[in-house]
């Protein structure tokens, strides 16, 4: 089943022509409407008319998260604020979030993308889908929700945090599909398997994303629940969930190429890598009005294949992610930078102690532990003082990243010192 035959099965030549046309228009638009892009292009002597098609893409400068931070909150928007109908925000590398804005047309485009992805998972208007992503500033909840409504499915806005209710309604409503993070679904599936409630379900498909997962996890979910599980990819800067998704053959994630041009570059030389090689994924949005981004470096490592898929789609496919080219962690679907933890610790009394972040997965749920060395101002000679310190650090971290962390106070010099760049993270989850 294909949602949009025209766009998803057109020939490579047609796709290239469409991308070229849209790219030229986008470059002109950002040059005229976004001072930061005009300055970037002027700095390298590039005029909008120098970009005549996709072949000129590599002439354009990159965009990074730092550009979004420097132009916080609305500086990169290419339309007046009254054209923006919605904003979302995700973690920045420091205290300031990354803010993204959508026009009414952008929301329609986003819904179209998610509709294509859900169709890949076999979801139709006849389905009852529970959206168990977080609703709010995070793009997951509302993104999946609008896509589900767009295909006409009965959409249940569950949100996160109440597993018991989710399971009850899954049974009572006879839900046939679910959208949530893969680790959460794996957790739910084990609970249901154990209680034998799996047999009471009508569930047949899941569309999971917002965090990296392995093929083994996907197969485990399929086995536990006797359903089809699909991997949906996206990032708020580019749009949100729905940028790409895998079809029933699970041989890579089909990119909505008529809206986003993907490239793979070397994270060290920034040059395009040979076809099929792994590198950093870069996206240029060619239809977005609110926040068009030129060559945005996603920091996700993957490869692309352009061959036609057995499903009939001709859109290119990105392979399962092989990690990140920066130190961002995705914990319970939330983007976390170690620098944010550092900033939270600094906020306590201006002294940043040595710290180390340990991420693990226990019973399929991510755990976050932060070891903090008790030294100098972080020392109290009373237990209640130390306990208050733990609570204070925990609160500061919670406010900064929106996740509860277990704070473990340790002796000075317990945390390994490294020569050069400090290693602040141990990720015990085996996701790559």
């Amino acid at each position: 089943m294909i949602w949009n035959e025209k766009m998803e099965t057109m020939s490579r030549e047609e796709m290239r022509a469409l991308q070229s046309e849209r790219l030229v228009a986008t470059v002109k638009r950002v040059y005229e409407n976004v001072p930061a892009y005009r300055a970037k292009m002027d700095a390298i002597g590039l005029k909008p008319e120098d970009v005549k098609g996709v072949e000129d893409l590599t002439k354009l400068p990159f965009t990074t998260k730092a550009d979004l931070r420097d132009n916080y909150p609305f500086g990169l928007f290419a339309v007046p604020q009254d054209e923006i109908v919605r904003v979302h925000a995700s973690s920045g590398t420091t205290g300031k979030p990354t803010v993204v804005g959508y026009t009414a047309k952008d929301i329609e485009m986003w819904s179209e993308c998610v509709a294509r992805c859900m169709t890949m998972a076999g979801i139709t208007k006849k389905d009852i889908i529970q959206v168990a992503y977080g609703y709010g500033l995070f793009t997951g909840g509302l993104g999946a929700h609008y896509g589900a409504e767009h295909i006409g499915a009965t959409t249940v806005p569950m949100g996160t945090g109440n597993t018991q209710k989710l399971v009850t309604l899954m049974k009572d409503f006879g839900a046939t599909a679910i959208a949530c993070t893969p680790s959460y679904l794996l957790h739910i599936s084990e609970v249901l398997k154990e209680s034998g409630e799996v047999n009471d379900l009508k569930l047949k498909a899941a569309i999971c994303g917002a965090e990296p997962w392995t093929e083994e996890m996907r197969l485990q979910i399929e086995k536990n629940l006797n359903i089809h599980a699909h991997d949906i990819y996206g990032l708020s800067e580019i749009m949100g969930p729905g940028v790409a998704c895998d079809c029933e053959y699970h041989e890579g994630l089909h990119v909505c190429e008529d809206y986003f041009i993907p490239e793979i570059i070397s994270p060290t030389t920034f040059e395009p890598v040979a076809d099929g090689e792994t590198g950093e994924l870069v996206f240029t949005t060619i239809s977005k009005e609110g926040l068009p981004l030129i060559r945005y470096r996603t920091r996700d490592l993957t490869s692309i294949s352009y061959g036609k898929c057995k499903c009939g789609r001709t859109t290119c496919r990105i392979s399962r992610f092989k990690g990140r080219s920066d130190d961002m962690l995705i914990i319970r679907g939330v983007n976390v930078f170690p620098s944010q933890v550092e900033e939270a610790l600094l906020s306590i009394d201006g002294v940043s102690p040595h710290y180390h972040i340990i991420v693990d997965r226990v019973n399929n749920l991510d755990t976050l532990e932060i070891m903090v060395e008790v030294d100098g101002k972080f020392f109290s000679d009373e237990i209640k003082g130390l306990e208050a310190l733990s609570v204070k650090i925990g609160k500061a971290v919670q406010q900064m990243i929106g996740l509860n962390a277990k704070i473990k106070l340790v002796e000075p010099r317990t945390i390994e010192r490294s020569m050069g760049k400090a290693v602040h993270v141990t990720d015990k989850r085996k996701l790559v």
């Binding site: 060395e373 008790v374 030294d375 020392f379 000679d381 009373e382 237990i383 130390l386 306990e387 473990k408 106070l409 340790v410 002796e411 000075p412 010099r413 317990t414």
Partner: protein, 143 residues
């Protein structure tokens, strides 16, 4: 009339207490009393020693988190009711006792207590008025 207590942060790991004691020994400092408060993950070792500054410096040099805190060391008769007699005066005030522990029992029928209170100055005033004998850092160094 206050004395210095040495506090050391230690994780609940094998051999850590031993390592702290070895550092103090190497600094040639005598331990007169200690108390170990523990939680599930770490402990707080509090000590009264012959030379707190020297022990503190030695521990810091060995990478431990340690600090000096003002406390009261009260000497009282080693007999029934003497502790209660002193503390009941404190109990009538707003002063909060943070923690306390005993010091080595002395031969001539006296015993000493280490007291950390929310307001040390006021607490010592009250205790002195009640006839308590408070030991200073110099007194302790001679013990």
């Amino acid at each position: 009339m206050q004395a210095k207590q040495l506090s050391v942060f230690i994780e609940n790991r094998e051999g850590r207490l031993d390592e702290v004691l070895a550092v103090i020994k190497a600094a040639n400092v005598n331990i007169l009393s200690l108390s170990l408060a523990d939680t599930s993950e770490y402990g707080l070792l509090r000590l009264i020693v012959s030379d707190p500054a020297a022990a503190d410096a030695a521990l810091k040099a060995s990478g431990f988190s340690s600090m000096l805190t003002d406390v009261l060391v009260v000497r009282l008769m080693n007999k029934v009711g003497s502790l209660q007699a002193f503390l009941s005066d404190l109990a009538k005030t707003e002063i909060n006792l943070e923690y306390m522990y005993g010091l080595t029992i002395e031969k001539e029928g006296k015993a000493s207590l280490v007291i950390k209170a929310s307001d040390l100055a006021k607490a010592s005033e009250i205790l002195l008025k009640a006839g308590a004998e408070l030991l200073t850092a110099e007194d302790i160094a001679k013990l």
